[in-house]
């Protein structure tokens, strides 16, 4: 019995100290290593306990059951393994934080990218139906944040019909639907119509999961060309 107590105590001491190292590196508390021996050198961390961060602690996320974490990790890793180490280095992505019920200012969100800290926080329970697509959507935000000049919002907006206008921000609109349109009319989903960067992320994520590219409208075709050609500027070996 004492031996079991000792083992539990030593595990607690170990995890606390790892959390300190992780905090020093990416400034997010209460994290533990999930997996760092990955083919593309991404480092997967998970919330051992709930954490808050940001201005006035407006970002929060919670720890998950190990069973759910193990399930979702397989899906996440399968998708993120499509980005090679060289590409990830160029876009400045190194740490993936896995937690659930992620919110920013009490608004639930699928992910929070931070290209400065090379980190993407992912809500592993966000939208079960489109979970894989959402992963790539969030990766695009990291890409976009690193290459704002390449992914010009002005050029992007010019592809749309003249009368169309995006909202001021992604949370300033109720266009949040993620279902893929059968009749696209320039957009893959309702959420595409929120902001230019969300629209780009939706196009990118649809391409990554292999959407049917037949019968697309001319606007969307231009948008796809724009995304593809700009990705090749970042890495001429990038394969969609």
């Amino acid at each position: 019995m004492n031996l079991i107590r000792l083992i539990i105590l030593s595990l607690f001491v170990f995890t606390q100290t790892q959390a300190d190292t992780i905090y020093n590196l990416i400034k997010i508390p209460n994290l533990e290593i999930y997996d760092i021996k990955t083919p593309n050198k991404l480092r997967y961390l998970y919330a051992k306990q709930p954490f808050t961060l940001g201005v006035d602690n407006n970002i929060s996320c919670y720890n998950s059951e190990k069973k759910i974490l193990d399930q979702k990790y397989k899906v996440i890793q399968k998708n993120l393994n499509r980005y090679n180490q060289n590409f990830l280095k160029k876009i400045n992505l190194k740490y993936i934080v896995l937690c659930e019920d992620l919110s920013i200012s009490k608004i639930n969100t699928a992910g929070i990218p931070d290209n400065i800290m090379k980190t993407l926080i992912l809500d592993i329970k966000f939208n079960e139906d489109y979970f894989e697509r959402v992963i790539h959507h969030e990766v695009f935000h990291i890409i976009n944040d690193n290459f704002k000049d390449i992914f010009s919002k002005k050029i992007w907006s010019s592809f749309n019909n003249e009368e169309f206008e995006y909202a001021k921000c992604s949370t300033c609109t109720d266009k949040l639907g993620l279902d893929t349109y059968t009749n696209t009319k320039g957009f893959f989903s309702e959420y595409s119509q929120s902001t230019a960067s969300e629209d780009m992320a939706e196009v990118f994520s649809h391409l990554m999961i292999g959407v049917n590219l037949k019968n697309l409208d001319p606007i969307l075709e231009k948008k796809i060309d724009f995304i593809k050609s700009n990705l090749l500027k970042i890495d001429n070996n990038f394969i969609l």
């Binding site: 100290t17 300190d20 190292t21 992780i22 590196l25 290593i33 760092i36 050198k41 480092r43 190194k94």
Partner: protein
């Protein structure tokens, strides 16, 4: 006439107990006072090295810490480190940041010099040689005893400060520029002064000397 009184058995036991207690107290006092008592001091002259040109000797209060440098892994960083060592710049510099059983950090040449410590700025000082680029691409296992150059939150800001880790830190690979590993005497670094409530040490321990085995 003085009558001899024989000590009873219980009195003898109490007497022996007091003697043992006194010896124990005295011994403990010595042990507590001498933090280096069980630390082995390595003499580099009695050790044969494969590549003596890349051996640096860090002398601290508890003895010598022998570091092997890896110019093949981080040529620019090792070159900078050697240059500062050869100019004796690290002598009398504080271990200003120490985390118990985790790492020791030193090398602030501007604000960490003995007799001229600046507690408000320590950790931000420069060498005057400018910063160098991070060398983080080569595979390197940051095992216990690894030595790396300190940087700010940004890459390519390495200068003179270095750290030595007292436990394995796998996440440091591709984050920090490695320059070498402690091959003897890591125990001496485990005795460097630390504070429980702060990583930054008030009245810190100092590097006595840091020199290359062969100049």
């Amino acid at each position: 006439m003085i009558k001899k009184i024989k000590a009873s058995r219980s009195e003898k036991i109490i007497f022996i107990f007091i003697i043992i207690l006194a010896l124990f107290s005295f011994g403990s006092f010595i042990l507590i006072k001498d933090k280096c008592l069980f630390v082995k001091n390595y003499d580099p002259q009695k050790i044969s090295f494969n590549n003596p040109k890349n051996i640096a000797i860090l002398n601290v209060d508890c003895g010598n810490v022998i570091i092997e440098l890896y110019p093949d892994i981080s040529p620019k960083a090792v070159e900078r480190f050697k240059r500062l060592v050869k100019s004796e710049a690290y002598n009398d510099i504080a271990f200003h940041r120490v985390i118990k059983d985790t790492l020791v950090q030193a090398g602030d040449l501007e604000f960490g010099k003995k007799g001229n410590l600046n507690y408000g700025k320590i950790g931000t000082g420069k060498s005057g040689l400018g910063t160098i680029n991070s060398e983080i691409d080569a595979p390197f296992s940051f095992n216990k005893g690894s030595v790396g150059l300190v940087r700010t939150q940004k890459y390519n800001t390495e200068d003179s400060q270095f750290f030595i880790i007292l436990r394995d830190e796998p996440l440091y690979e591709t984050e920090y520029t490695p320059i070498g590993k402690v091959i003897y005497g890591l125990e001496a670094l485990e005795k460097i002064k630390y504070l429980d409530k702060s990583q930054y040490v008030l009245r810190p321990d100092f590097i006595n000397s840091l020199k290359m085995l062969i100049n």
